[in-house]
Symmetry: D2
Subunit: 400 residues, 4 copies
């Protein structure tokens, strides 16, 4: 592959740009995963990662990608034939429902329009109707990476509570963790699934399960076969900072630095920075005259914006031009949105200059492909970035 | 953790020392796993990794550690209740048999003494006795990392053939791949399990399944639930160099360089270099007056040497002294060998100076702990290293 | 220093952003500067660096910064009391003239306005008047980094030739080498001074003297004391790829990769890329309504643009706001331009996205400081970048 | 150059192995040398480097290699025709005396035998005889890198004092700084010359002048032409952490980490570690039956050992075999010692395992080349390393 001058702008909605201090930590020599230095590292990251999930309970760190952590959430808590209530927010919720099926579970997948978050009322109705409590779990995606719509997890919690339903609540936060406020404990989530390669700014390769007591109890009864992803041996070994099998040592060295950076900036400011970038991006998109894939402003994602092109224009051709002309990667449309939308990632490690450079790159592509747009989007974005935005929108707290 | 001067000698039997060009490749910025640059990378490593397994068939690269690839070999080929014939070579074969149990399989675990490789005759007897063909698979470890004993996989193949038994042959090569000759196709292995952090010289985090046609056929009937580890979607996506979910991008960037290094040196020379280091290490150990854990010289491992200390001496105390005095990590005894043996890793990226430095570090520790030994081990090792050793011992080819 | 999120935009007119492959090469372990690996490296870079200077003659690589190479050009060719004809293009030509004075030479410094390049006619007049040939050298700056004005070196050559004057021609190309076309041989330059940290994309630390035969001859008579910077021992040792004293080994490892990148892109395309960025930047600046420090469009620099702010506005306050709000560094005004201008570097390793991100960062700062400007500069820049610009303006070839 | 497996053992007497945290710091992106982050860095390293020289006065950090700092010590303090008293300890003192000559100074070079340090009595005699005070400076090498002999600088100081001579004392500590105790203030040194690439564990590229008040005063009268190396502008700019011209930014980033590592270990322990390695090396050499180039045990260097081979054996052939067989670089014999000695570097970043690995590599080479030696040198070295050596020999304090 020919070297392209200048730094690559990796502005897909994850994996995200890894800050150089994290890359340097990952490139440190591998250490003995049974030695004293590793034990210190393990205890440190296992403890501090809890803060990112806002939980006091255990967080398991798997040496695998997010898809493995999806599976872990299911196989540790459920048994063959269990029913799972899910909601179609887009491509990733669809994939997760297919996984439940593949594992021998029975998903009930409430149809959605790929332009909004979870309809908590619809979940509540389904749960109220389920007097036999056949649903053992409700499994939803917090931030649907394919559409840029955030679901209100506090509302989902209330839906379950209102229905007095005992189902576990499983939430995928792969593209929201460390980018958009999420509260494992406060929102009563039983298993939160996270990954390394988005808000945590690491390369892909480690993934997480944050676990409630209720989930731990459920795991004792759960019958799905599991070994690699089993919680028990992990929790036992983690007590002293070690792992039951070889962990992803070097990514854990990187995780330590990622946590340093997040703590230094402060989670609230991290969220606010994402909010500002998202607002500025939407202002530019709206100014250009394009539609945002997420229909409901209350559900706009702060980690990515999916942009709909006018009929007859190819989003993939646009992305190709942008890549070749500006060395900037944007996300493609997935599933039914293929070639219809492109996705601008504004999550992880970025600043005003990189966000604006990305938006400028989009304009370069629009001009090059002849897609009609109204110029001035950059100015609109700059205006937004400079303004004093309100603190991060905390969806869980908002009145409904 | 206080910085210790000088480079750490990571001489455990894996993870191994990662060469700096590989660390640099891993520290390159993450790239878009759906972009053209990744497609090129994917096709390249998926093709070239086959050479290391000596197979013309597909090799799956999982974004997980070796334990996940163990599980993948089982869940893709077997169904609940299937019997698996295994052989107790040591700690890792024991763990693998426990995994089969956890997944709902029925291991028959032939007892071994942790001082030798698989007894192919014993396997043959068991298979001959199994006229009902209840065994769906034979699962053995090529190089038992806990003891330093190599099993003759060609002999295992012959045992199955002699018994005219249809069982699949599953082999763990985690600590032999890229260090000790292994021939997936020639030896008729159905699933070979490999990892990144030993002979491939990468940090832990990716793992492999090399798959025979027979295994692929079996996977169509296999009923164990699987999704993350499923072969089908992987193989489909891999055809164009991509993955069905986010791969460990940065480790794949490193894998490309690892394959470059291995190809530049040549697999045969890589094996010969391991043989020389192993011979030199054994010469030193024998000179010191210690017993080698592996009893059978024909089964000596070229990737590690497990050394038995005289009764009454603590291997862990020795390792601790060595670490503190020389910044050198050695492997601990596992399971029943805890504190009884220590393991010297001589695999992956090393040279004469690092092997000899490691042996000298052991002497420093022996002297410091007062464990009686005969001095001059280093000279013996140097003699061996300097001699013209025969080319790598190719166990599969040896007459029995 | 607190970590600022996102990558720093180092958009000063040098040092420039070092591409990661170069940083990785610099971070490789130091090698024995008297060993065979170094000899290969030395021969390679000593040969290939000539291409960047467009010379067939020797190029000396000093383990020092550009200021040392300025001094080397003088002390190797001149003797105490020698007269040197110089031209005031800005801060750096002024510094160089002060250096000649400090070294016991006698500079005649033709006054300039810091808004244009060298006036070749003025040089010619001075040389014609110098019938006694007291001027032993003409020393000028190719690209004046403090103002963004390029001097026509071919015209300077002609001025000397027209005057039939024997003076040596010394040229500083520190901020043009590898960014703006320069032709050591064709333009009859006797000593060209270059540095690593601009168009060559390396960190600061090595610097160059490209030397003509005439300069070599002159060095035999030159009496200024010199040792560290002496050419003779360097040239002797360089013949086999080595150096008379310890060279900057790691920067030479980086230089090898820098040359790879430049050769892969092609010098002409490198220049054209700089031209495009410079054009786009000037379009934005003009659209905003600001004056460009360089008055003469034929002398616009392709490696930086110095922008004059309206009276009463502080360029330093603007730069401070930009740094804090966007993590983007711009160059300050130097000498009489302090606080009056800011300088946008567009040299070395950059692409459309980083240039546009930089310009957007300037707009963020303008808005934040309340400096009046006309919005839409980004759109103007994008228009320019997308157009098919003519190939790099080759000043030396242009008809006068 | 073909990749050689395993880490290179760079055991020349400098440049030394750079610890990975320092390499990582050097590979951080270049920062604006006029921005606030740099100012902090500059103040920090300019202050802390004083501790390594044991001075309360200023230390200048040049963006050049040690040879430049040699020249700086001379040109800032002396005038054309000044006499300088020097002592021939070996190759480097000879080079320095040649430099004084090249710069128009008049060295009086007391003949030595290349097997011992400076004879302070001889200096004293010369100074006593110099009643006219023609010697403006005494210039000696603290640790002669070509022979491994350390000179007693406190004794040199006393010699000057005894002679009541006003000459400045200039000392080269390039291969002792940070490895062998040195006390700029206590020993009344006027200019100490240091480099980055030995005890400071950095790659080559920056070099130092520590300056006494007397030297500063002398610089006001000194007439040798100087600009790049002039102290005045450096000291003025350094007051706020900046430099008068572009510094070696990335090496300064590395220097910060180097100082962290040295301070964490503690200078006294750093010296003791060097002493232990030196003792162990000498024990091995003596056991093998070879002569050490330095004749006087009180002058043995703790940073390198030069080993004399028996007549008729080529040190260069030995080094070549060692390099090819063990990937270990040793230092060659310089000047009259070419091919007669080889030099083992034990300075900078090393530990027991790397020292012993180096000694083992020497044995590999001895055996391969057939040079007769007595085996068992490694055991002798191990014995020494394990013993409780007395604290670092502090030559300056020793009774004479």
């Amino acid at each position: 592959m020919k070297h392209m001058p200048g730094r690559h702008f990796l502005q897909i909605p994850g994996p995200t740009n890894t800050p150089l201090p994290i890359l340097a930590a990952i490139a440190k020599p591998t250490i003995d995963h049974r030695g004293p230095e590793f034990g210190e590292l393990g205890l440190d990251v296992l403890k501090r990662i809890r803060g990112v999930f806002k939980t006091k309970g255990p967080v398991i760190i798997y040496p695998c990608s997010g898809t493995g952590a999806w599976e872990a959430a299911l196989v540790n808590t459920l048994s063959a034939g269990d029913h799972v209530l899910m909601y179609e927010t887009g491509w990733f919720s669809t994939l997760w429902s297919k996984m439940t099926l593949a594992l021998g579970l029975k998903p009930e997948f409430i149809k959605g329009d790929w332009r909004s978050g979870v309809d908590a009322k619809a979940l509540e109705s389904a749960l109220l109707a389920d007097t036999a409590h056949k649903f053992k779990a409700v499994a939803v995606v917090h931030n649907e990476t394919s559409t840029g719509a955030v679901s209100n997890i506090a509302a989902v919690r209330r839906a379950i509570d209102n229905a007095k339903h005992p189902a576990l609540l499983l939430v995928d936060t792969i593209s929201s963790l460390g980018s958009i406020d999420f509260r494992h404990d406060e929102w009563g989530v039983d298993v939160t699934v996270g990954g390394s390669q988005k808000g945590l700014m690491l390369p892909p390769g480690i993934a997480f399960n944050a676990i409630s007591n209720k989930a731990l109890e459920a795991s004792k009864q759960a019958k799905l076969p599991r070994s690699f992803l089993g919680w028990n041996e992990m929790l036992a070994a983690n007590a002293t900072g070690y792992f039951p099998y070889t962990p992803s040592t070097n990514l854990l060295q990187g995780l330590k630095v990622a946590l340093d950076l997040i703590e230094e900036e402060g989670l609230d400011e991290v969220f606010a920075r994402h909010d500002r970038a998202a607002s500025a991006t939407r202002r530019a998109v709206e100014h250009w005259g394009f539609e945002i894939q997420c229909r409901n402003p209350a559900e706009y994602s702060s980690s990515l914006t999916a942009v709909r092109l006018p009929e007859g224009h190819s989003a993939d051709r646009l992305r190709k031009e942008i890549l070749e002309r500006t060395n900037t990667s944007l996300g493609n449309g997935l599933g039914i949105l293929a070639d219809r939308v492109f996705r601008i990632g504004h999550l992880g490690d970025f600043n005003a200059a990189s966000v604006l450079g990305t938006l400028a790159a989009v304009e370069v592509g629009l001009k090059a492909t002849g897609i009609p747009y109204r110029s001035g989007g950059l100015d609109a974005a700059i205006e937004t970035l400079n303004g004093n935005l309100p603190p991060s929108n905390k969806m869980g707290e908002a009145a409904e």
